[in-house]
Amino acid sequence: MSARAGRTGLAGGLFTALVLVFLLVPLGIVALFSLHSSPSLTFPFEGFSTRWYSEVFGNEAFREALFNSLELALATAAFTFVFGTAAAYGVTRSGSRLAGAGVAIFLLPITLPLLFVGIALLIALRRVDIELSLLTILIGHTIIAFPFFFMIARVALERLDPMLEEAAADLGASPWTAFRKVTLPQVFPVLLGAAALAFMVSLDEFVVTFFVSGNETTLPLFIFSRLRTTLNPSINVVSTLLMTITLVLFVFAFVMGIRAERRRARRAASLLDAVQ
């Protein structure tokens, strides 16, 4: 590497480090103050205490929000897994021209600002007199999480080695058996990672939930209501909880993805060896 490239690399590395500080330090500060012993949200830091955790976990409204959020996230992940896998399989395995239109519909939710998804869903539900409830929140979350799952599932299915499915069909497996015994096991870790992503999207969702929640509450709605009334470290506690769950799931999804990717690379290499 030339001296010049070295300088560019150093400058770029410093800039990237600053950007990482900008991205991560505010989140770290939120987590830090969740452990603050005083109600103050600013330095100097007066000492560690778990009092805000006790306060929050003792709060009835919080516990309800937590259970609702976990229930919704789990249901969203399950729904998205079934719908999304079917959609991605259908789109990648049919030669039909309609598949393009399908892809456009499946990605529509991320091209539209969530504000419009929220208000449109609200008026449509009211139009047919559906009461707002956890179910209507679930409908909203599934719409939003769907494209993320679909994109990942589609890439995973497209990258599969076609010979394996063909071999299964030649050996007399029905399409369903071939899918269950040959296709699914190969992509399952990635799909599980993508479902974790859907879980995260649901857990953090606020913009659409706000419109279709009726009298129900979720963790982001709980944060929202506290933001308007009491600014104290209890908000940091709920935020830190959300970030922790998200981080754990993200690491899980990341590891699943890396493992699948490495396995695929190894298989590609061994196939290449076999051919040569």
Partner: protein, 321 residues
């Protein structure tokens, strides 16, 4: 490697979880043939398509229909009318909020792209063994909750916030300054914080097919830094950069929460008003008309960008991955 010099550049598709995946794929033409083809297989995708049509496409059409109906309180009725649009477009408030949305959206998008391009460039060509770790940190920050970020910036920028106390401790100011919060800059900072990770991942995907040897070739042929960027790098990344710009512009300009917590009284945006029409004010027809205006403005942006890129002879924008 997955692409050759003549291949069209990859769309700004990124696998949000595995951006660092080794590019060891066979060419796209070979890959898309994966598995036995069967037209009927598409039927398996029908339930999901039906779901999105029922709960997204039909509602959006309903929303647009409401914009030309007569307003009631939390309801609409016939006859058809264009009054809502007329009223919305004649109101000074609409234009003021629209200008705020445009400024916040444009600044957020421009700053995010300007920050993300050097980061993605460094990640692609210079990061070496740091690549996966940095990518992981960027992606982690992408999944932090939207409200948590707004809250974080509120505690940092607030009058008694972290920034003020730090500046006082450093002796740079005497009293807490209220200059950091409740203005457009605070809104833009929070929205940039939300947007940068997306753009970094998209731009990294854009740099991925540009192999270092292309840049070396340009240098060997006598191109200076400026010329290399102008003739080689920019044409290859312009498509993804512009589509990220538009994506972030739309996301930021339609925001309705950040202005409520970080903006001042004069910094409301169109989205805030639309949200209010559907909740507190109950004027659905007006909210729908404002939504129609915003959607039309976005469609215009897409069209201008697509035509502009085509006229410039650059890769056309790809909206899907």
């Amino acid at each position: 490697m997955s692409s050759s010099a003549s291949a069209p550049i990859e769309p700004p598709s990124v696998d949000p979880m595995y951006p660092g995946a080794p590019p060891d794929l066979p060419p796209a033409e070979a890959r898309s043939a994966a598995g036995p083809k069967n037209r009927r297989t598409l039927a398996i995708a029908a339930p999901a398509a039906g779901y999105l049509i029922l709960f997204l496409v039909v509602p959006v059409v309903t929303l647009l229909a409401y914009s030309v109906l007569t307003a009631g309180f939390f309801t609409v009725s016939g006859p058809l009318t264009l009054d809502n649009y007329k009223q919305a477009l004649e109101s000074d408030l609409t234009w003021q909020l629209g200008r705020n949305s445009l400024i916040v959206g444009g600044l957020t998008a421009a700053i995010s792209v300007l920050i993300a391009v050097p980061v993605a460039y460094w990640l692609r060509y210079h990061a070496g063994r740091w690549q996966l770790a940095v990518m992981f940190l960027v992606a982690v920050s992408m999944f932090a909750s939207y409200l948590v970020r707004i809250y974080a910036w509120r505690t940092i920028l607030g009058t008694n916030g972290v920034l003020n106390t730090a500046l006082i401790d450093l002796g740079l100011i005497d009293h807490p300054s209220s200059l950091f919060i409740f203005n457009q800059a605070a809104i833009v900072i929070a929205l940039v914080h939300i947007s940068v990770p997306y753009v970094v991942l998209v731009m990294f995907a854009a740099f991925r097919p540009i192999e270092p040897r292309y840049l070396e070739a340009a240098r060997d042929l006598g191109g200076g830094t400026v010329q290399r960027w102008r003739r080689v790098v920019l044409p290859l990344i312009a498509g993804p950069a512009i589509s990220s710009f538009i994506f972030i512009f739309v996301l930021a300009s339609a925001d309705y929460v950040t202005p409520q917590f970080l903006g001042g009284p004069g910094d409301a945006m169109l989205g805030v008003n639309i949200a209010a029409e559907f909740t507190a004010s109950g004027n659905w027809a007006m909210g729908a008309a404002l939504s129609g205006i915003m959607l039309a403005a976005y469609a215009l942006c897409f069209a201008v960008a697509a035509i502009g890129l085509r006229l410039a002879g650059l890769s056309k924008i790809r909206w899907t991955t």
